[in-house]
Symmetry: C2
């Protein structure tokens, strides 16, 4: 399998990205096509003694900068590593694209260059998050601020197929993120989407999930518009960081506390691993004609490798044709 | 000062409510008027040996049930303890009303019985939450799903006056909850509210607060529509509960862990106290002509007493007339 990567996306690019690519070749047996400035890639490899077995490069002279307008990726003459990588994916130069760069630009570029699956209204970001009782997917976690109930239904179908076929969760429970469990709770969008989800075949809709229960894996797929989803995602990260920071401060407050830490560090480490969203590899852009994975912006080599692993599973799952079928069936029935 | 309480609101009513009322009389020097079924109140007091010094009762034969329609509180013949308490407040029978019952009904009853401050579009729920660097107010945390930018501006003014005069935070920083810091981020409502808040005199608007930073006390007042606010509130509670539950499991996993716990329990206790939203007493309904405090549904005697303390401070702060002035000035300038 050939995975295209953006060598210049993310806070720790290109070093950690290229190290992660090398790990991916060794551990996952994939080929990597690293897109970006070839001279800079060559230097990084030399300076860090990175094993280049299985890694080839495709030149892209520019890097997408944080202040660049995400829409600029649509321009024909955009030669950033992200744009060149997406075009390469579109043209069949590889099986999937993995990128730790700007999410907004990747969403725009995905829809504009790789294109949506026929019948899909909006591609969405599906983030796999660590819940108390196992991982769950939050979809959409930030791609689309303005969503219709139909779009939410498609998110439900796509998330459900992803969790079943990529994370191997049997009959995944699908819930709508809301401020109460009753069917008449929430915004007009929530109320309409609830009705629609209830009548959608082939998904296991279990009703509304209150935000309070989301971290307890209230559902395997939590459906939401991208604004609310992004608030949920970032509250999750922020509250977890704030609490873990405080816990750490408790342990380093004095000698007795430090000694106490030794007694539970193993358990705490396991818990941290359980809560580490980087373990799951990143977020999937779902609804596009080819697999695109958004690795976390601050990912290191190990996390980037996990993102490549997720891309491999995404490819192997065959969910893109399954989404196409299931959405097609639904839209045909209705028209 | 006379504080009216709903003796039959909340999961632990009436016992914990009446115990909390007794604590409030002792510690805060207030008079309490407990509203509810007099016979049941009498029995509870007898059975629990509650000191009734400073506590009088007003009879209300009914209790609002969880399945009751919140709108039913508007009916003339509604004789639930919540409705009777709100009418008593309106008629000058006390200085403030504290209730741990159904939030939806309290919001409806507050607006319908106690009435809004002249010029206030929507009364809001201001929840005081424990942030990493100190408490902050989330307003609106659930009263109004559908909000205009003008309403959000009023929330900003009300929250700002509350944090300044009740929690004594000098020049409170006001931020808009959003999915990015740039002024053009978020929903059309966010974008319009940002512009409006930027041009509002007498508030210290610092821009958008990303959800990721909210737990780190990104602002002293976080402004939001009630749907988004409720998602934020419940994510906060849910993630904190999930993590603390896991930490506890680590400590009770074996004998070494249990011993280690002894070394840090003091620090952990302090941290738990810092993170305990019950310490701050509850949520304030702001924008009404008289102070109404919503105590947490699961509050015990101590937490209910804290809610009474918050009601006392709310009364003493004089913010209701300040809100009236500041909102009046603003609306006059614009008309």
């Amino acid at each position: 399998m050939k995975i295209i990567i953006d060598a210049f996306g993310g806070d720790n690019a290109p070093t950690e990205i290229l190290k992660g690519a090398s790990l991916a070749v060794k551990e996952l047996g994939v080929e990597i096509i690293a897109v970006g400035d070839e001279e800079k890639i060559r230097q990084t490899i030399l300076q860090n003694g990175i094993d280049t077995t299985g890694i080839s490069t495709v030149h892209a002279p520019h890097i997408l900068k944080p202040m660049d307008n995400p829409l600029s990726i649509r321009h024909k003459d955009n030669l950033t590593s992200m744009a060149v990588g997406l075009h390469l994916l579109k043209d069949g130069g590889g099986d999937a694209f993995v990128c730790a760069g700007n999410t907004g630009a990747l969403v725009v570029g995905g829809a504009f260059i790789v294109k949506r699956i026929n019948g899909i209204k909006k591609p969405a970001i599906g983030s796999v998050l660590p819940g108390d009782k196992g991982p769950f997917m939050l979809i959409d976690s930030g791609a689309n601020i303005d969503c219709s109930a139909q779009a939410l239904r498609q998110f439900a179908i796509m998330g459900s197929l992803y969790m079943k076929n990529v994370l191997e969760i049997e009959n995944p429970r699908v819930a709508l993120a809301n401020i109460g469990t009753e069917s008449n709770k929430g915004t007009p969008l929530c109320i309409e989407a609830y009705k629609m989800l209830k009548n959608t075949p082939n998904i296991n809709f279990t009703g509304n999930a209150e935000a309070r229960d989301i971290a307890f894996t209230a559902a395997d797929v939590v459906v939401s518009d991208g604004f609310t989803g992004n608030i949920i995602l970032k509250m999750y990260e922020g509250v977890a960081l704030a609490i873990m920071g405080n816990i750490k401060a408790v342990f380093t407050a004095g000698i007795v506390s430090k000694l106490s830490y030794l007694g539970i560090r193993k358990g705490l480490k396991l818990f941290k691993k359980k809560m580490d969203y980087k373990e799951y590899g990143g977020a999937a852009l779902i609804g596009l004609q080819k697999p695109v994975i958004k690795a976390h912006g601050s990912c290191d080599a190990g996390a980037f490798k996990n993102a490549v692993r997720q891309a491999v599973k995404y490819c192997e799952s065959g969910i893109i044709s399954k989404i196409s079928e299931q959405v097609g069936d639904l839209e045909n029935v209705e028209s």
